[in-house]
């Protein structure tokens, strides 16, 4: 996933804009899957397109690790499927970014 010293910030749609070209962690809700492209919704109601994933997305939520390649685009490195009860606070403002 990363070198030992490498920090990978956890972002939402708003804070993702500060990390163009950098690897980030995005927890998101899956909106649509279409031919290798996944459209997701962030916790602050942003819409992001994730491309380049190889393993299947399952369930409603996922944690995506990838590189920010545009204001609404992430090039996936890997993702983790999350359980459907993820985030009782979903929809509230912001996610912790480190």
């Amino acid at each position: 996933m990363a070198g030992i010293d490498e920090a990978i910030p956890r972002v939402n749609f708003e804070t993702m804009q500060r990390y163009h070209g950098r690897k980030v962690i995005l927890c998101c809700q899956i909106s649509q899957i279409d031919n290798g492209t996944v459209r997701v919704t962030t916790s602050d109601k942003g819409e992001v397109t994730v491309v380049g994933g190889s393993s299947p997305y399952e369930g409603r939520f996922a944690e995506v690790v990838g590189t920010v390649v545009g204001p609404t685009n992430i090039q996936e490195v890997e993702h983790t499927n999350l359980s459907d009860n993820f985030s009782e606070c979903w929809g509230r403002r912001g996610s912790a970014s480190w």
Binding site: I4, A7, L82, E88, R93, W98
Partner: protein
């Protein structure tokens, strides 16, 4: 929803136990006789603290004899949470590389033969899965790692969110003091822990840590006790053998933005807190130290 499957890592963070170290007996405090031999090793401090990996690697200080200090307090058992990035089985141990987004770290878990044969661990600790680790910090050849005595797979990802919030809360609690008790300000509802971020300005609106807190709105005689309790629980106040004088506490309150308390009010509040068992006087009647209550 209890994410504290081990010890006090779970719900009750403000009951005075869990991540706050127990006072050491025989070490100049009210809990033990004076002048006794000092206990070595980790038995002196039975705390469990949550850390991000970066905090554990970069911000902990080596004391002697494999003891460590973070945020001004000696640490004992720690818990971290991260994604397994590599997994390696050896004869009697399993080596994991864990990354939680802040940094990566090696975790060593000693397992007995029975566990290895049942092949439970390899299934639960797959690369790409999140796990929670409980263990002790070690340093070998200048490199820090964790020796784990428990590694639990994470099944509910809300636990990851909870863990990071717990790290932040414990760090702030230990460096800036306990937040004020939930006494309502005039015209405002008291912030409740566990309420949503949108409804609460944590550690800010009630004036616990914000320098620009609305001090004029604070009720006289009520908040001063909470503020003083926070001052006397600051790391340097707890570490000082004789605590803080009333003058020093008054200075700390001013630094916190509580400049409206005069020295006489602070003295009276200290006496009140001493009568309540929150503080005790040390070298004279105007120097106090927290009892930890």
């Amino acid at each position: 929803m209890n994410f504290g499957a081990y010890g006090d890592a779970g719900a009750s963070q403000f009951g005075g136990g869990g991540f706050m170290p127990s006072p050491a007996p025989g070490h100049d405090n009210q809990y033990g006789g004076g002048g006794g031999g000092q206990q070595k090793g980790r038995n002196q401090n039975n705390s469990l603290r949550a850390f991000t990996i970066r905090h554990l690697l970069k911000e902990t200080v080596n004391l002697e004899d494999e003891r460590y200090k973070a945020d001004g307090h000696e640490i004992s058992t720690v818990t971290v949470m991260g994604k397994v990035t590599s997994y390696s089985e050896q004869a009697t141990k399993v080596l994991l590389q864990l990354h939680d987004g802040t940094a990566g770290m090696e975790v060593c878990s000693w397992v007995d033969e029975a566990d290895m044969q049942q092949a439970q661990k390899p299934v639960e600790w797959q690369v790409g899965k999140y796990v929670r680790v409980y263990g002790n910090l070690k340093t070998f050849e200048g490199k820090r790692s964790l020796t784990a005595f428990a590694v639990k797979p994470v099944t509910d990802h809300n636990e990851v969110t909870y863990h990071f919030l717990q790290c932040v809360m414990q760090h702030l609690h230990l460096t800036k003091g306990a937040p004020p008790t939930g006494q309502p300000l005039p015209g405002k509802a008291a912030p409740a822990y566990g309420s949503t971020p949108a409804a609460t300005a944590p550690y800010g609106a009630a004036g616990g840590y914000a320098g620009a807190a609305p001090a004029a709105a604070a009720p006289a005689g009520g908040d001063i006790h909470s503020d003083l309790k926070a001052v006397y629980n600051l790391p340097h106040a707890l570490a000082a053998p004789n605590g803080l004088s009333v003058e020093a506490a008054h200075g700390e309150l001013q630094r916190m933005g509580r400049a409206h308390y005069n020295l006489q009010q602070v003295m009276q509040a200290c006496e009140y807190l001493a009568a309540e068992g929150v503080l005790y006087s040390t070298v004279n009647d105007t120097t106090f130290k927290s009892t930890g209550a």
